[in-house]
Point group: C2
Chain length 295, copies 2
């Protein structure tokens, strides 16, 4: 049977069909109807669903179920989005509303968890039983694979790896705590600190560091030290087989990955250090992961 996945973000609703081999065989997206209410979102999703199925030359009865990735906390058992600020969803019974509109079973998942599942089944974490995806963007997100399964948190609240404390008492985080990993390891940190020498984005800083600019190199080395300590914390707690990192800064390739691997190896408590590799499921990871949670 085919499965259908939605990746609902604050800008776009992306969606697609996953085949029996976990491949994305059709996809499309529409603008997220911001501020127009839940009913409008559900109608937009239903229209997108039908157009993708039709354009792919498939029938709705070939689809076994629908997974929906959202950027926020979800009550999986009841199909409720607890909080997804970017979508304006708060205690929204999205699962039931979509199930009613699509006449299919609907399953919700946090978007970082969806991406992690996609990496484990089709990407950088394939073959691992215990591993982590860390996504480096405006903030830090991610997910964990433990004992071969997506780990949804001991109380099913998910995982918030960006809010592990890396420099207690340090920079103020949006969550209210001082020193979260997010404040030192996100792309935002590079962009913020780069302003001192006329770099306005993480990419600017990395490009300047590649060109040998001393100030950019100094910032980049401090960033590697922070990111390395952060990843080493996860390694020393969970002893994972592999860590995947995703997000724009990974465009730096081995310029980032080589010193990062060396830094984590130095800080890893165990005799051998797991490999850190770049996430490979790409922008479609949310759609694929959402589709993968369907039975």
């Amino acid at each position: 049977m085919l499965r259908f996945g939605f990746d609902i973000g604050g800008t776009n609703i992306a969606a697609g069909i996953i085949d029996e081999d976990n491949r994305l065989i059709a996809k499309s997206s529409v603008r997220f109807p911001r501020g127009e209410g839940t009913e409008v979102v559900v109608r937009a999703c239903a229209a997108l669903y039908r157009s993708i199925v039709e354009q792919a030359g498939r029938r709705e009865d070939e689809i076994s179920g629908v997974g929906v990735a959202v950027p926020g906390s979800v009550d999986i058992d009841n199909g409720v989005v607890i909080d997804a600020h970017n979508l304006g969803f708060h205690h929204t019974p999205l699962g039931a509303l979509l199930a009613d509109a699509l006449k299919k079973p609907v399953y919700l998942i946090n978007d970082a968890d969806a991406a992690t599942l996609a990496e484990q089944r089709t990407g950088a974490l394939i073959g691992t039983n215990t591993s982590a995806l860390i996504t480096i963007g405006t903030g830090i997100g991610g997910g964990l694979i433990i004992n071969g399964e997506l780990f949804r948190g001991g109380r099913k609240n998910g995982t918030e790896p960006g809010h592990m404390v890396l420099r207690n008492g340090g920079r103020h985080c949006t969550c209210g705590v001082d020193g979260c990993a997010e404040t030192y390891c996100s792309a935002t940190r590079l962009a913020t600190d780069g302003k001192a020498f006329d770099c306005s984005s993480a990419k600017d800083v990395i490009d300047a560091a590649k060109d040998g600019d001393e100030k950019a190199l100094e910032l980049f080395r401090a960033y590697i030290d922070d990111l390395g300590s952060y990843i080493a914390s996860i390694v020393n707690l969970l002893d994972p087989e592999r860590i995947a990192i995703g997000g724009g800064v990974c465009g730096a390739g081995s310029f980032l990955l080589d010193p990062l691997q060396a830094d984590v190896e130095r800080k890893c408590f165990f005799e051998t250090c797991p490999r850190i590799i770049i996430a490979s499921a790409g922008n479609d990871a949310g759609i694929i992961g959402a589709g993968l949670i369907v039975g």
Copy 2:
């Protein structure tokens, strides 16, 4: 069937019999024969085993197997102690040697993992599927319960929660990294910083803080802030149902626990915060946990 547990430490070998209800029904201990080699240790263990079984009025054929907790890294599958510095064991096939001496199946376990298992089955973590034990002593040790089972690390290297980084670039840890949780959250930190105002142990500092000594209170509050951030890191990554803390500083009771719970609640990313409670399996946790790993 009964099970037998050893808790081998650098000072004593403690051991006992666990009944079908996971209760310790007989125990004893002997001095660890430091520096006398593996054969002497195995003979001491065998003698202790036979004397405990006999004194309890039991027969060896009532014992289904033997678990052995050691302070170090173990290769579970092959029954080899990889490194236990305090015991002088390095790549020591302790499982096979003891199995030969006792004529029983022998299973090895790290001592912090044994204590964690004891807490989950008989103590503070009872009934939990995802939880953690953090033991606060000279260093920081601990273990994780995930999905109802003792988590032995993704690569079976165990877990080293004391070497998560809490203040990157901070105090130098014995492991070589600057800023490990161990350097800020151990009893050693209280004893070290307390020297500045004539306290020579963690207990001295806590007693002085209880008496209202300003310097001791200042240190104690800084310690709660560090320990709170450390526990919040584990909470935000794993969303556990409960956290147990053990070790001498827990003698402070609610004087420690109340401000710690409040600090972690402030730093917890989720709507509700798990309870932090004091470990209850006590000094016998190693023996009990070792016995519990027997089939």
